[in-house]
Each structure stands twice: as C-alpha cells, then as structure tokens.
C-alpha cells in the first residue's frame, strides 16, 4: 500500500535543492531512489540460475 510521508519545511527545501541539482523529475522519484539505494545494501542474493534463465533468448547476447 502506498504511504504518505510528511516532510518538515527544512527537509522539503533541501529536497527541492537536490531535485534541481541532480535532475530528478519529482520528489517521489528522489525518495524512491534513496530507498532503492539503501535496499540494495541489505537485499539477499538472487538465484543465479533464475537470473540466467531470464536472460535466455536475448538475441543480442546469447
């Protein structure tokens, strides 16, 4: 379920500066990317065989 987060004015201003500096298209995109970056650090390994299977048939590579 989607969640709403309330940012303080200060955080909101900082977020606007980050968005303008990096070129995010929206606040949602910025927050999504920050969460993804943190999640990347804790997620467990994917199944290697499953990863290989998903790639099959991609004419460009195999």
């Amino acid at each position: 379920m989607a969640k709403k987060v309330k940012l303080s004015n200060e955080s909101s201003q900082k977020a606007d500066e980050i968005i303008a500096f990096h070129g995010y298209s929206s606040l949602e995109e910025l927050i999504g990317n920050l969460i993804d970056s943190e999640y990347e650090k804790i997620k467990s390994d994917d199944d290697k065989d499953e990863q290989a299977e998903k790639l099959s048939g991609l004419g460009y590579i195999s």
């Binding site: 070129g23 995010y24 990347e40 390994d45 990863q51 998903k54 790639l55 460009y60 195999s62």
Partner: protein
C-alpha cells in the same frame, strides 16, 4: 410426548459445555471493523460515482486550456527502429524510390538524428521517452550488473517476488502478488502530456514494460517477457539426434515416431507457480505428417490444425494447467522439414486476450485489441533473430514472421488512428531493426564473412524492401493528415556492418584485470571460474566495464578514489591503443569514463568505463554472457551481421518531419521537449533536450 420433549431439552441443557470464546470488546471491534471496511468501500464507490462529473469537468477544463495553447491539432510520432540516415541517402542515390520520405524531405525536414552513447535501443528510446541523458533515466545498456553475484540482469524491469509465501512441503503458495518494477526513471512525455488533460495513445515503445498508468492507452514494447519470463525462448523438435542439430539456444527436443508418421512431443511452458524450484509446466501434443498435403496436423489440447511446410502459422492458443487454473499463451508453428522432422515453435507469448501479466494500460486494452485483430505478438523482441542464427527458422520463415508482426502492429495503429481526433499518438515499428540485423550480410559493401545462401530477391534485398515498406506505410498515413497535424518520424540509431567480435572479458583476463581460479585457463558462462578476490575489473553488457570496487561489489578489492581512478585511466588507455592484429584496425574509437558521458542521479549505476566501438566491431555474444577464453578478436560468421553497437558518430538515426524545424542538429533527447512544445507545455527543468522549434 410433551414429557419426552421436556426430558430431551433438560438433558441437552445439562450436558451442554460452555463455549470457550472471547466475546469481549475486541471481537466487537473486529465485527464492527469488517462492517466499517465494507461501509468505507461502499462510501468511496458512491463518492467516486457522484464526483465523477466534477472530476470530468475539471479534466475538461484542463484539456481546453492545453488545447488552446497547442500548436497542432494532432501530433503523430512514428518510430522506425534502426533506420539509418546514411543508408537511406545511399539507397536514394542508387535510384531506390521512396516517394513519401522524399515528400517529407522536400516539404519538411530530413536530418540525421544523434543517438545516445551507446547507441542501442534501450538507452536511446529511454532518452526519446524522457528527453534526458541516461544519467537521469537509469538505462545504460540492455544489461545491468548485479553487484552481489556479478551476473548480468535485464536493465529495463525487475520482477519482485511475492513478499509473503506459505511453504507446505514441496509447495510454495504466494500470499501476496509478485510485482514488476519499471527500472527506467524520470518522466515520459506521455505522462506529462496526459497530466495536462490530453489523451495519449502509446504503442510498442521500447522499455515501457511494465505499462505505466496515465490518461491514455499503452501497449508495452521491447523488454516485455514471454510466458516463461525469458526474453524469448523458441522450441525446436527434430527427429535427428540432439547432438546432430548443433543448436545451443532455445528448448531443443528430440522426438521419436510412435507410429507411421506420428510423433509425440511436449511443449514446455512457464514455471509451476506453486512448486518449489518452479519446474516447467508441460503440454503434450502430437504431430501427424501428411505427405500428400505437404504438411502436418498438430493436435494440442482441444485444438487441432494443419500446418503447411514452409509457411508460418497464425497465432495458436496454448494452455498450461495448474489444478483448475489455466495459464494462456500464444505461439506460432513452422514446419521446416518433414523428413527428418524439423518443427519450430515460436517463444510462447503472453496471450493478450487473457494476459497472465499485464502488457497494456489499461489491462483491458490488450484484450480489446485481441478481440479486434486476433492474436498478436506481445513479446518485446518477438522477431526470432536467434532462431534464424541457429538455422532453426529459415531466412524466408523469419521474413514471414517479421512481416506478420508488422501487419498486426499496423492494424493496431489504424484502429487507434481512426478514433484519434485530437492529442498524441506514438508507435514504434521494429521491422527495420530486425531485418537489418539479420540481412546486412547481403549488402554489396558489407564484407561480411557470414553465409549468404539465398539468391531470392526478397531475401537478398530485404533491407531495401523494408525501407520501401515503411515508405508505403507513410503513403497510407500522410494523406490522412491535415495542415494542422504534426508528423515526426524518428529512429533511435542507425546501422552498419559488424564483421568482428571483440571478446572483452578474455581481453581483461589476458591483461590481468580478471583472474581465474587456480589451475583454470578459461571460464564458463557467468564468470563461473573467476577468482573475485584477485580480479580488479569485469565486462558487463554490450559496452561496459565495471571496477571490482571495495564496498560496492560483493568481493570488491579496488579502493574507491585514487586507486580506482588510476585503474580506469590505465584500462582506458590500453583499450584506445588496442589493435585487431589480423585486420590492423583499432577496436575502440572512443573510451569514456561514465562521468564524461552522463550527468544525473543514476550515473552511479552506469558502467565505470563505456566503450565506443569502432565500425565493424562489437562485443562478442560469448563475452556478454561472461565467458572467458583465449581468443581476443574473431570473425563474426553469424547471420546477425548488421549492428549499431559502435560509437554513436557511426550510426546516426533519421529525423523526418512534415514541417520545417529551426534546429540544425537534432538529437534523440530533443523529441520529448518538442512534443511538449507542440502542446504548448513548458519544458520542465529536468529535461536535457531542447525544443526543435517546429515551424507551424
């Protein structure tokens, strides 16, 4: 009688045990809560229903406001994937007639369209969709890297398995839904346009899977998986011994004659959704040869149909059963030979009429199209290039397949166009890309070492024909457009020959950047025999090199900062100097650190080094699946003989417009802001491209 009844009731009262149930306030809340939930849902439904006219009115006002400032009544964008600027001019010079392209040249604009670096479809079409450089949209290649496993992974979407599952013995029951996430970031022009109240129809744009929600219609394109979750795995059945076929890809099955001219076979489908390890679901079918009619009868499930030798069939429904559930797919059949039996079945596409995974927005849109035109390809890369490479599908069979998909897509276009009174319509056609990949070897200047077995005109001149077919399509479209309509024709990149394969990972091994486990001199697929504790860099995708960075890669050994920067400089220099000893040419024309090419929040996900290959060179398929051997550069003898994986200066795309533009050097990033400008929408600050300034 009364006495007896009294006795029974008395005994029941005495013997009845007290009910051990909690009937305190919590239960009351739960009871009331369930009613509350129904009440809220009901209230919301009523609220939505009652406020619909108000919302529709505001949407209408928004639309009126946008349309007032729009410069054109209708904006139509057609993509011809891979159509090459230089080749188009060359064909015209040779006397080929493209009257509709020529009309656009004379009355409007024809210019080379600068692609992205690297100039490959996922990257370039994502810049087309968003108007930003790859550092802001997060797509840098077909493949991204998994920093935990060093495995390549698809860059466009990620399937997130269900969070909650119930494990019972060998069964895994999902309690929540799996999700598919679009990895392309930033904001597409159709989302911006539709947020201003303009209805948009977006058909088959690459890297639009899973489909986005917006005020309009979308059918996903390149990147959409088949029913098995792969990028397209064909099945091939032969009465020859498996080892004699020489085929390495797809599902290969040796079949035996059970009686005179009758073969039994199994079609492998998607993984079992509830069984541990997801073994493939299977559907049995039979093939009965009919020598008199020069074909075979196929019986699969309740369906029975005849296939003529050498003719690709229309889409046939196939079902895979899991208990009471049926998973629907569609496939095409092609009988290559009857004796020995050689039967090809296309990758099983998600059935658009009963999609197990949504391929459109809204979901019902794919069903609507299927009712309208019958089955159609939903797989991203539906044209089975690899089946042709493996000679499972003949050159003629492949062309039949490509043409049939083009026909389906044009039918979708015309139905959408018929209802299109105002707004935005975009569609990308892929025929030009697939045909050029597979038939470049027949061009007189290709110098290709690959086989050219055919003398038939429709095969030898397949590329010229394909350009002509696109011109014919324009010939049907252009008379239907008025002066107030804007038409732009774009391609994501051009094309040229690819005669040499560069084995990047073997080169990294030879140079000591990749180190193998003790005693090994080669490594199987996916870096099976690599010693990561000693390796400093690895190749991934079609253009990238990643540093095995400490704190980033799982077994990283290179410290970020000075050590990493020195390593990148060293590799860059060596690659720039690298020559193909046999031919005397340099392998790479440009080698870049990612910061030299990209700017944006996702630059951190890009390869540390991006290779801009010289014309005629590209990474070998073996290297792209992380195989390591001793060959560094070799001949490309595959039918896949045309490509665009060079540095972008070699392969400009095309830009045609029915109006003049003020800009002299358009880039693919400029298309999105130009569309916004056509609707009078101010360019958002995050967009890198510029308005081409169409003269209305």
């Amino acid at each position: 009688m009364k006495k007896r009844n009294f006795l029974i009731i008395s005994i029941l009262i005495i013997l009845t045990a007290p009910i051990s149930a909690y009937v305190g306030p919590g239960a009351g809340f739960a009871f009331a809560g369930s009613f509350l939930f129904i009440f809220i849902a009901f209230f919301l439904a009523i609220f939505n229903f009652l406020t619909f006219p108000i919302r529709a009115f505001f949407q209408f006002l928004k639309r009126i406001k946008t349309l007032k400032s729009a410069k054109f009544k209708r904006t139509v964008i057609i993509g011809f994937d891979g159509m090459d600027y230089n080749r188009m001019k060359m064909f015209m010079k040779e006397g080929e007639k493209y009257p509709n392209f020529e009309k656009l040249m004379e009355e409007g604009t024809f210019a080379p369209l600068q692609s992205t670096e690297p100039p490959i479809s996922p990257v370039a079409w994502s810049s087309f969709s968003t108007g930003v450089n790859p550092g802001k949209h997060n797509i840098f290649d077909f493949l991204a890297t998994d920093r935990n496993t060093y495995m390549p992974k698809m860059s466009g979407s990620e399937i997130i398995p269900p969070k909650k599952v119930l494990k019972v013995g060998n069964y895994t029951i999902p309690l929540s839904k799996a999700k598919v996430e679009l990895m392309r970031k930033s904001k597409s022009f159709w989302k911006i346009v539709s947020s201003k109240g303009i209805f948009s129809s977006v058909l088959r744009i690459p890297y639009s899977f899973p489909p986005e929600k917006f005020y309009g219609l979308m059918l996903s394109g390149l990147g959409t998986p088949d029913l098995r979750g792969t990028q397209g795995s064909f099945s091939f059945y032969s009465s020859e011994k498996k080892t004699d076929t020489g085929i390495t890809e797809g599902v290969i099955q040796e079949v035996h004659e059970v009686s005179d001219g009758i073969f039994n076979a199994i079609l492998k489908g998607p993984g079992h959704p509830f069984v541990k390890g997801s073994p493939a679901l299977e559907e049995k079918f039979s093939i009965t040869l009919d020598k008199e009619k020069n074909g075979a009868k196929i019986k699969i499930g309740r369906d029975e149909f005849f296939i003529e030798k050498g003719k690709i069939t229309e889409w046939k429904k196939v079902y895979f059963k899991v208990g009471f559930i049926k998973i629907a797919g569609i496939a095409q059949f092609f009988l290559e030979e009857a004796d020995p039996l050689k039967l090809y079945i296309s990758p099983i596409n998600i059935d658009p009429g009963s999609p197990s995974m949504s391929v459109s927005h809204p979901k019902i849109f794919s069903v609507y199209l299927s009712k309208l035109i019958g089955g159609y390809a939903t797989l991203g890369m539906a044209e089975d290039t690899w089946a042709l490479n493996e000679r499972v599908l003949s050159e003629d069979g492949f062309i039949q397949q490509v043409y049939s998909y083009q026909e389906e897509r044009e039918k979708m276009f015309w139905d959408t166009f018929k209802k299109f009174k105002r707004g935005l319509l975009v569609q990308v056609y892929e025929e030009t890309d697939r045909i050029q990949h597979m038939f470049w070897r027949y061009l007189s200047d290709s110098g290709s070492p690959a086989d050219k077995p055919s003398r038939e005109d429709h095969i030898v001149n397949a590329i010229k024909r394909s350009y002509k077919r696109m011109d014919d399509f324009l010939g049907r479209l252009m008379p239907k457009l008025g002066k107030n309509d804007l038409l732009m024709i774009v391609s994501d990149h051009g094309f040229n020959k690819v005669n040499r394969d560069f084995h990047l990972n073997s080169w990294l091994y030879k140079e000591g950047y990749l180190v193998l486990k003790d005693g090994k001199t080669s490594s199987d697929k996916f870096y099976k025999d690599v010693d990561w504790s000693k390796s400093r860099a690895y190749g991934q995708g079609l253009h990238g090199i990643f540093v095995n960075m400490k704190g980033r890669e799982r077994y990283g050994i290179v410290s970020p900062g000075k050590e990493a920067e020195e390593l990148k400089e060293e590799i860059k220099q060596k690659l720039k100097d690298l020559k193909d000893i046999e031919k005397g040419d340099v392998v790479a024309k440009g080698v870049y650190k990612r910061e030299e090419l990209y700017k944006g929040p996702y630059t951190k996900n890009a390869p540390d080094i991006v290779i801009g290959y010289n014309l005629g060179y590209r990474v070998s398929p073996e290297s792209a699946v992380n195989y390591i051997g001793d060959t560094i550069v070799s001949d490309n003898t595959r039918m896949w003989s045309g490509d665009h994986s060079f540095t972008r200066a070699f392969v400009p795309g095309i830009f045609f417009c029915n109006k003049k533009i003020k800009t002299k050097h358009p880039s693919i990033m400029d298309i999105s802001p130009t569309i916004l400008s056509a609707f009078g929408i101010k360019k958002p600050s995050f967009i890198d491209g510029n308005d081409l300034e169409v003269v209305a």
